[in-house]
């Protein structure tokens, strides 16, 4: 057993010495900024940003080829840290389509009056009695969707609020086509605020 331990230690030591020699002989000046940004990124190499790994994403971030919000696992706090480290303005308004709040809505043909949704509703927004058609009170519904999961007949669903005079807004200025693949070099369009372009 001692022999095998010694052999493995010997091989490992030799390889380590060889590698550190090679590392000293071959010149490679790593950009300190890349190292710093890579340190900020999660380092799980998940590839959700579309790059092969965190190192590549860091390089793209430094060259301003990728948006600061490219990393889903990092979340908004990491995007803020990146904005600070790279000294770039952070723009998180990535969504272009206006989404209105959704309310639960009972489909009268499918509701069997089982009261299961009433028990699940956290805001008591559903009124009804056993074997009677239920109704959602829009003033109380917060659109959480708990009733949708509870309904055995798929008789309740989340429906987007209809446009009316109280919730209509001007649409945002158009951006470059967001469906272009890969999602790079969008920053110029994203970072241009309407005020500055006027």
């Amino acid at each position: 057993m001692i022999t095998s331990i010694l052999i493995l230690t010997l091989i490992g030591t030799l390889l380590g010495l060889m590698l550190s020699t090679v590392n000293h002989l071959l010149p490679y000046a790593e950009d300190p900024l890349i190292a710093r940004i890579t340190e900020l990124l999660p380092g799980t190499q998940c590839g959700q940003c579309g790059y092969a790994g965190c190192g590549q994403a860091a390089a793209a971030l430094i060259e301003s080829k990728a948006p600061l919000t490219l990393c889903p696992p990092g979340g908004p706090s990491m995007a803020r840290q990146l904005a600070q480290a790279l000294d770039r303005p952070l723009d998180q308004s990535a969504s272009t389509t206006t989404r209105l709040p959704s309310f639960a809505r009972v489909v009268p043909e499918l509701c069997i009056g089982c009261t299961k949704c009433i028990q699940e509703c956290p805001t008591d927004a559903i009124v009804g009695a056993p074997k009677q058609l239920h109704v959602v009170l829009n003033q109380a519904c917060n659109g959480c969707g708990a009733c949708v999961d509870a309904c055995p007949t798929e008789g309740i669903l989340l429906a987007e609020m209809a446009f009316n005079l109280s919730n209509w807004r001007w649409s945002k200025p158009p951006l470059p086509n967001p469906f272009r693949i890969p999602l790079v070099a969008l920053d110029d369009g994203l970072n241009t605020t309407p005020e500055s372009s006027l």
Partner: protein, 192 residues
Amino acid sequence: MHEYLALLLGTALVNNVVLVQFLGLCPFMGVSSKIDSALGMGLATTFVLTLASAASWLIEHYILLPLDVGFLRILSFILIIAGVVQFTELCIRSLSPTLYQNLGIFLPLITTNCAVLGVALLNSQQSNSFIRSLLYGFGAALGFLLVLVIFAGLRERLALANTSKLFAGSPIAFITAGLLSMAFLGFSGLPL
């Protein structure tokens, strides 16, 4: 000479490491979407595979067999392969930073390419001589490179082809891999 040539062709085509022995399928699917990175990956793996099969022969015949510790074979081979991969990474990082960027995470993952360990183990199983081990490793690596580049070329065409929605993307790539494997069966008739 003829014997060595036959060995090289035999490992590269007839007993192709990917399509006939089904080793190293991870980079075969993972790095084959672009010809450039497939070529880079294939060349890096060629380097690693050849070097690792030579180094593992040396370790086996000068350390493991004289000291009668054959049970350490897999462990020490993995150690050697990890070292060689790290060496390759250092070389590529210094010589071609662009390629280093392109290969990304797949470069250190050559360590877990089972073709590398598989070839080293097959060498020790067949008790090949040093030259034969080297050629066996090189031939297997050439076969890997060839198949990777062919498959990357096919996938580049497939990306543009009008595939039905059901098969678009990975499914058609897997079907293509199967067809390619069947095509390589044809090489088994080569009179080597």
